[in-house]
Symmetry: none
Subunit: 373 residues, 2 copies
């Protein structure tokens, strides 16, 4: 799966020239269409329209997009080039206000260039490459390398989450796994987070059997999770959200794995609306409920989940979501985008550096200290 990639458009040995390439996720599951672009407005529009979504994927797209735009700069000095990069970074970084990885990724690129250019006084000399055009060319290369590093790191951490999570399958074939929303390959640059252990199990021939909640109102489970697992040859069965309890009762599921948008210091986990209900159902049926997420999702500054603000979304996502009116047009709607699953319902948090187990206040504190986070 290649939701976010860099495409070289030249014949030279370096990364440049090239373009940002995205799977247009607004066209799924009907059509698999790629968008290739080096145009800033198109990149901002793609992020706004959810052509690319999922925090890690947005971060990678923003960094590669910044590279694609800045390669065409006609700046004559490192200083002038840096000014242009900062301006493009500000615009791309503001494409969606709440996606923390978006600003994080473009800021990381800018800081890298500032550090490199700053070595030789006012940014006119760069890493021994001289001044003027040579310095600008060197900065363009450095930007491309940093953006690709962000992509490579994301791919590596997906793989690591998969490696750590696959231990839960303990060599058992045909384990039933229920997942909610999409924390898969389409939300990242590679294996996904919640789906990474499933892909890893599939690679090992363990043939996991996945039940994907369709995840109303925006149906990420139906449109994206079912699509990407099906395409990858994984045995996936789509269900409506309200069927999870019955599937559990029938013994079809031995494990739940979901992603996370934010994890508090005590282990409370914010994720797509419905996750909390799935966790209660899993507890009722004695099925372990796991969260899979990179350690960057843990926000040590938040003592507990009740401090996480819950975004309310538009009523028509529910009333008019399938291309036709499915409720009275003026009916009152409650549409929270996320919920918080309390730590006591979570059997483990699968990260790229291992599986965290309860009691979370302690294990998370130790883990963050070890990671320097």
């Amino acid at each position: 799966m290649d939701a976010v990639r860099w495409t070289r458009t030249g014949t030279g040995q370096g990364m440049l020239p090239g373009k940002l390439r995205l799977i247009d996720q607004t066209r799924l599951p009907g059509e698999l269409v790629y968008i290739e672009t080096d145009d800033r407005d198109e990149i901002v529009d793609a992020i706004k329209r959810l052509v690319v979504r999922g925090a890690p994927a947005i971060g990678c797209a923003a960094a590669l997009g910044l590279t694609a735009v800045c390669q065409h700069s006609g700046a004559k000095s490192a200083t002038a080039f840096l000014a242009e990069v900062r301006e493009h970074a500000a615009v791309i970084g503001a494409a969606r206000p709440t996606a923390v990885n978006l600003a994080w990724a473009v800021n990381r690129c800018v800081r890298k260039l500032e550090a490199g250019a700053g070595d030789e006084g006012r940014g006119e000399r760069v890493e021994g490459k001289g001044t003027g055009a040579a310095a600008v060319a060197a900065l363009k290369d450095a930007l491309a390398r940093e953006a690709l590093a962000i992509l490579d790191e994301d791919m590596a951490l997906c793989r690591a989450i998969g490696e750590n999570g696959v231990a839960l399958f303990e060599g058992r074939k045909g384990v039933g796994v229920l997942t909610h929303c999409n924390a898969g390959a389409l939300a990242t640059s590679d294996f996904g987070t919640a789906l990474a252990p499933i892909y890893a199990a599939q690679e090992r021939g363990l043939a996991p059997r996945v039940f994907a909640d369709e995840t109303r109102p925006l149906l990420q489970g139906a449109r994206l999770t079912a699509w990407e697992l099906h395409r990858a040859g994984v045995d996936v069965t789509l269900i409506c959200d309200n069927m999870a309890a019955q599937v559990m009762r029938e013994g079809r599921v031995q494990m739940v794995i979901v992603g996370a948008d934010r994890i508090a210091a005590n282990g409370d986990t914010a994720n797509k609306i419905g996750t909390y209900g799935v966790a209660i159902l899993a507890r009722h049926h004695g099925i372990p409920f796991y969260v899979a997420a990179p350690y960057s999702t843990i926000d040590s500054a938040l003592a507990q989940g009740s401090q996480i603000p819950i975004e309310q979304r538009a009523a028509d996502e529910i009333r008019h979501g399938f291309g036709r009116l499915t409720a009275p047009a003026d009916c009152k709607v409650y549409n929270p985008a996320f919920d918080v699953t309390p730590a006591e319902l979570i059997a483990g948090i699968i990260t790229e550096r291992g599986i965290l187990r309860p009691p979370y206040p302690e294990t998370i504190r130790e883990f963050m200290a070890r990671c320097g986070g």
Copy 2:
């Protein structure tokens, strides 16, 4: 609200000739359209396609439908007519497998005719109306009267369920009630079952606040419950099924009331898929979970819920339900129409003759003995 009615098409004083009239619930909430028919295939199709749905409404529709079809019989003797009635009853009664009221209603009609016809030896003489054509005409009238009796009884029992259920509101204003699917006026011939206590509370000025699960895949909660409550001026808020846990957690709900398709002798209750999950969530949050249903829904012959067959429905209800493809077209789907909520999760069963409380094997046995059922 008039989901199921008999329309007289002649000018005489009796009920015949006439047609079964249904609100086409597949067209709601966009359009209020009625279907009038006396054609068996159309009636079976209407039941299958959920033009009419909800156990009591299906029972009424089946009995009135049987009447509408049989009125055109050219049988020359009571015996021949009864054979035709039995054949039509078998076909209509098999239109959907899980709804007990369907078979109950048509069988009640058949038994009534058999009892009447049987008085005079081999069914050739009927209630003093002589033989041949006169006997057949008398049986047609008897059939119409029995079907209308079923309709009238349903209307009376909806009111009685409302009266009994409203006691749970104890004069409190603004009580939050969560309901799933539609066991309202559209599921019956009048006030509904699960919604009857809500309508009764509304009539008493108690202004209940209802949260309606949209109820995927067919969205009866969004299309029907939200529509009929909104239309009746009840404060109703539509949510996706996966938001129920969050709504409970936020303290917005003090009670759950759902309908039932079939109740076993031990209290286990089959109802629309998702009901079981709601019951678990209610238990987790300490919220009482009630079933509202007429006593005819109790099937004493079934010792427990595991004996209730669960209908599986078409995959495209989930993949392609509302005018657009929302999942891969060839994706595997699991689509059970019902689930069974175990008796231990049910705080009470609101019937037209009072509220049954645990332990159900005992209270149901006494109740059925008292009702002669």
